[in-house]
Amino acid sequence: MEQIPLEHILLLSAALFSIGVLAVISKRHAVVVLMGIELIFNAANLNLVAFSRHDPQLLQGQLFSLFVILVAAAEAAVALAIVLRVYQYFKTANLNQIVTPEK
């Protein structure tokens, strides 16, 4: 079985990372911004797993990416809870319309 060149995996990861950055910058709905952040996490994970191929005894990259997945799951849960609270309070999840009402 032929090996996937390391550069190609890194290039794919760079592409996914920049797509995630674009989503975070250009989208105004809070949930889509979260999706962009998930994409960035996945790009980082891909690099960790790709380099873990060269570390067969220790598998440090794979262990690291396990913890990254775990923290991403915790982050998504708390962030969505915050988004739901914000939606209940401001009646919108658009990040540009979330302003404190004047007293």
């Binding site: 910058i25 979260l34 994970n45 998504a76 849960a77 969505l80 609270r85």
Partner: protein, 170 residues
């Protein structure tokens, strides 16, 4: 060959996630991206990570995101469409990052690095999967981060449940 199919699928659906304005389409194209990344993990000899990706991301986080979309927008309304702002600046920054990273990766000649040359890519060796070695390592080398991770998950669960509760009725 399979890797390139998965890679193209991941990048295309990721790009569609950014381009579409419908939140639900964005969610489902993120699903395709995550699935292709799980496939790439399998090709990189990371079977346990691939299954974790499927269970946590596709089964957990994505469903949570879809719930978030459903609960924070009215589907027949305009609010299910996401507004695009900063398109020019966003494209510039993302393109700059992409070009910079690609240039660096291609320039760095990573495959010729000495420590990568000395290692062999036979991850699995005699074993059938990485599950056993990952399990042993989770209970020996990284047992403290593992326990801290369980504590973090508990705190995040409690915090999310507390934040999302309607406090007026209590």
């Amino acid at each position: 060959m399979l890797f390139y199919i998965f890679a193209i699928l991941a990048v295309l659906s990721g790009a569609y996630m950014v381009l579409t304005r419908n939140l639900l389409y964005a969610g489902f194209s993120l699903l395709i991206t995550l699935l292709s990344i799980a496939g790439i993990y399998v090709l990189l000899f990371a079977d346990f990570i691939a299954v974790t990706q499927l269970m946590v991301y596709v089964g957990g986080v994505l469903v949570l995101l879809l719930f978030g979309i459903m609960l924070s927008s009215r589907v027949h309304d305009k609010s299910v469409l996401s507004e695009n702002v900063n398109t020019v600046w966003g494209t510039l920054v993302a393109g700059f990052i992409l070009v910079g990273l690609s240039y660096t990766i291609l320039k760095a000649n990573i495959s010729t690095l000495p420590w990568l040359q000395t290692t062999e890519l036979d991850v699995l060796g005699n074993q059938k999967s990485t599950v056993q070695s990952i399990g042993i390592k989770l209970m020996t080398d990284v047992v403290v981060p593992f326990e801290l991770a369980s504590l973090l998950l508990l705190i995040a669960l409690m915090g999310a449940a507390y934040i999302a509760t309607d406090k007026q009725k209590v």
